[in-house]
C-alpha cells in the first residue's frame, strides 16, 4: 500500500499552526465536559516586549516563553477518498491520502509549575489547572 503525502494549500501557502505546551493536564469541570466547544480555557498575555508569556487558567497562572522548534512539525490530515472504477462500478475502493494542512515552527512553552493566584470571586467558567499543578509538583520534588 502506498499513501501519497501532499499539500493541497500549495506548498508556500501552507499555513502556520501553533502549539501551547504545558505540564500536566488542563482539567475541565464535570458540568462542562460535554460541551467544550467555544469554552474558554484561559487568557494568554504578553506582559512586556520580551517573548515571555503568562497563561491564566482558572485560579492558576503559568509562566513561559515563545520558543522556536528545533525541527519543524507538520500537521497531517488523513483523508479517505472513495475511488469508483469507471469501467466496473461494482469495484470501489477507498484510498488514503495525507494532506499537509499546516506547518508548526514555534510554540509557547510553559515549563514551570503553575502558581496559584490569590483567590478572588469564583468565576462562572471553571477550568482548573489543578491537575497540571499536581503533575508539575511530582516532577519537581
Amino acid at each position: 500500500m502506498q499513501i501519497q503525502v501532499k499539500c493541497s494549500c500549495g506548498a508556500e501557502k501552507c499555513p502556520e499552526w501553533a502549539i501551547i505546551e504545558l505540564q500536566g493536564v488542563v482539567e475541565v469541570q464535570p458540568s462542562f465536559r460535554d460541551s467544550l466547544q467555544n469554552l474558554q480555557i484561559g487568557l494568554l498575555c504578553r506582559p512586556s516586549f520580551q517573548e515571555n508569556y503568562t497563561f491564566t487558567v482558572g485560579y492558576h497562572e503559568l509562566t513561559g516563553s515563545k520558543v522556536a522548534l528545533k525541527k519543524p512539525m507538520l500537521v497531517l490530515k488523513k483523508i479517505k477518498r472513495m475511488n469508483v472504477d469507471q469501467s466496473d462500478e461494482a469495484t470501489s475502493s477507498s484510498k488514503v491520502e495525507l494532506d499537509v494542512v499546516g506547518v508548526i515552527r514555534q510554540k509557547i512553552l510553559f515549563k514551570t509549575r503553575p502558581k496559584a493566584l490569590i483567590s478572588g470571586p469564583q468565576p462562572a467558567v471553571k477550568e482548573k489547572a489543578n491537575a497540571a499543578g499536581a503533575a508539575a509538583q511530582k516532577q519537581s520534588v
Binding site: M1, Q2, I3, Q4, V5, K6, C7, A11, E12, C14, P15, E16, W17, A18, I19, I20, E21, L22, Q23, G24, V25, V26, L36, Q37, N38, L39, Q40, I41, G42, L43, L44, C45, R46, P47, S48, F49, Y53, F55, K66, L69, K71, P72, M73, L74, V75, L76, K77, K78, I79, L98, V100, V101, G102, V103, I104, Q106, I108, A132, A135
Partner: protein, 397 residues
C-alpha cells in the same frame, strides 16, 4: 490595560503575533475533539520541500510499520508520546475548510474569538533514516523465476494465465516493498532483475547459463573479442538462436558492461569476475566439491581470454579443510538477509569463528544509516587477538 485590540483577531496568527502588553483568549475550538485524523510529524528542515511538493509517500502493507520514502531515502516513522499537554492551535480559517458546514457557518463559528485549540496532541511522529527493506523484493521475485519454458511458451500465454502467476509491475513493487524509488531501482539491479512485458522478473540461473554459453559459443564461431562485443551483432545472433531479444540484451547487461568510449556504437566488454562467479555457482549448485576437481572444471568452462583467480569468488564460496582435503561450497552474500542482526546470526551459525579477510566480503554491503562498519562489528561481534601479531578473530557476541 492588557486588552488592546489585535491586528488579526483569531487563530494561531494572533497567538504568534501577540503584541507586547496585550492578551488573547484561548478557548476550545468549535470543532474541538480527539481528531485522530490529525497527525503531527516532526522532520528535518531539509525534507520539508520534498513533503510539500509531493515527493514523499508512505509505504507498507497493513501488517508492516509504515516507512516514509523520499526519492532516494527511506525513513521509519515512530510515534513519540508526551506527558505534557500539547494544545494544537490552527489558523483562524481552519474550520471553514472542514466538511461539516453546519458547524462552520453557524453561530458557533461566529463566536470564535481569540485562538482556539482543536485538539490535545498525545505526541508526534518522528522520522529515523533506515536501510531499505529489500529482502522482500528478493523473496517475491523469486516466487516465479523467468525460465526457458516461459520464454518458449510465451506466445501462447493469454492474459488470464499470466494473471494467475504472481508477477509484479513497478507499481506493484512500490506498493509492496518498503524502499524509496532509487533504492528499489538499485535493488532490482543488484538482483539482476529485468522488466519483461511490464513485469519485473529474475531470470532462472539455468536459463541465463544457456544464453551465456551460447554467447561464448558464438564469439568463438564469429571470432568476436569478449572485450568489444558489438551489441547489434550479439543480440541478433542470439535472437536467431531462439532467445528473446530482451534476454539477449539482459545477458550482456548482467555479465558485462558498456564500453564508455564507444557508448554510441553499443560496444560491450564481458566482466571476468561476474562470468567466473556464474560458472562457479553452476558447478557448486549440486553440492560441495573437492578443490582440485572444482578448479579443473571451472577453468575448463571459462573462455580462454579471461583471467581467472580464486579471489574472484570472495563472498560467493567458502572453503573448509576436512582431513587432508580442501572442499569448496557455495555461500553467497546475496542469499543472506540484509538486516545486521539476522546477517550476523546466520554467519555465526555457519562458522563460530571468522577471520577478518573471510568475514569482510559478507558484511561489506550492510547498510545501517548512522552506523559505521566498525560500530556494527562492535555491536554484533567479539574481537579477539590470540597474539599481538596474529590475525584478529571474530566470534558471536
Amino acid at each position: 490595560m492588557m486588552e488592546q485590540p489585535q491586528p488579526c483577531c483569531k487563530g494561531a496568527q494572533v497567538m504568534l503575533n501577540l503584541q507586547p502588553t496585550s492578551s488573547v483568549s484561548i478557548q476550545y475550538h468549535p470543532l474541538f475533539g480527539s481528531h485522530d485524523d490529525l497527525i503531527l510529524l516532526e522532520l528535518d528542515e531539509k525534507l520539508l520541500p520534498d513533503v510539500l511538493y509531493q515527493r514523499v509517500t508512505l509505504r507498507g502493507q497493513t501488517d508492516e510499520d509504515a516507512v516514509l520514502c523520499t526519492k532516494s531515502k527511506t525513513y521509519s516513522v515512530k510515534f513519540v508520546g508526551t506527558s505534557n499537554s500539547v494544545l494544537l492551535v490552527p489558523p483562524a480559517d481552519y474550520s471553514t475548510s472542514c466538511k461539516n458546514s453546519r458547524d462552520c457557518d453557524g453561530e458557533d463559528y461566529e463566536q470564535q474569538i481569540g485562538a482556539s485549540v482543536i485538539k490535545v496532541a498525545p505526541g508526534n511522529m518522528e522520522l529515523v533514516e533506515v536501510a531499505p527493506r529489500l529482502d522482500k523484493l528478493k523473496s517475491i521475485l523469486s516466487e516465479n523465476l523467468y525460465s526457458s519454458d516461459e520464454a518458449l511458451e510465451k506466445a501462447d500465454l493469454d492474459s488470464m494465465e499470466r494473471s494467475k502467476r504472481r508477477l509484479y509491475t513497478w507499481d506493484d513493487l512500490t506498493n509492496k516493498v518498503q524502499a524509496s524509488d532509487d533504492e528499489l531501482r538499485t535493488g532490482l539491479q543488484a538482483r539482476s532483475a529485468v522488466e519483461i512485458d511490464g513485469y519485473w522478473r529474475i531470470v532462472d540461473e539455468k536459463y541465463m547459463d544457456l544464453i551465456l554459453r551460447m554467447l561464448f559459443h558464438n564469439s568463438v564461431l564469429n571470432d568476436w573479442s569478449l572485450d568489444s562485443l558489438i551489441e547489434d551483432k550479439v543480440v541478433s545472433v542470439l535472437e536467431s538462436d531462439g532467445f528473446p531479444r530482451k534476454l539477449a540484451y539482459h545477458c550482456l547487461y548482467v555479465y558485462g558492461g558498456r564500453v564508455e568510449e564507444a557508448m554510441d556504437r553499443g560496444v560491450w566488454k564481458m566482466d571476468a569476475r561476474r562470468v567466473c562467479v556464474h560458472f562457479a555457482r553452476g558447478i557448486l549448485r549440486e553440492g560441495k566439491r573437492k578443490m582440485e576437481s572444482f578448479m579443473e572444471e571451472w577453468m575448463r568452462m571459462i573462455p580462454e581470454e579471461m583471467q581467472v583467480s580464486f579471489d574472484m569468488l570472495e563472498g560467493e564460496v567458502l572453503t573448509e579443510k576436512l582431513g587432508v582435503e580442501t572442499w569448496v561450497r557455495v555461500f553467497s552474500v546475496s542469499s543472506l538477509p540484509s538486516t545486521p542482526a539476522e546477517r550476523f546470526s546466520i554467519l555465526f551459525k555457519e562458522r563460530p569463528k571468522w577471520e577478518w579477510k573471510d568475514l569482510e566480503p559478507y558484511i561489506r554491503d550492510l547498510n545501517v544509516p548512522g552506523l559505521s562498519s566498525e560500530a556494527l562489528l562492535l555491536k554484533y561481534t567479539r574481537r579477539t587477538q590470540p597474539k599481538v601479531d596474529a590475525e584478529p578473530v571474530f566470534t558471536a557476541r
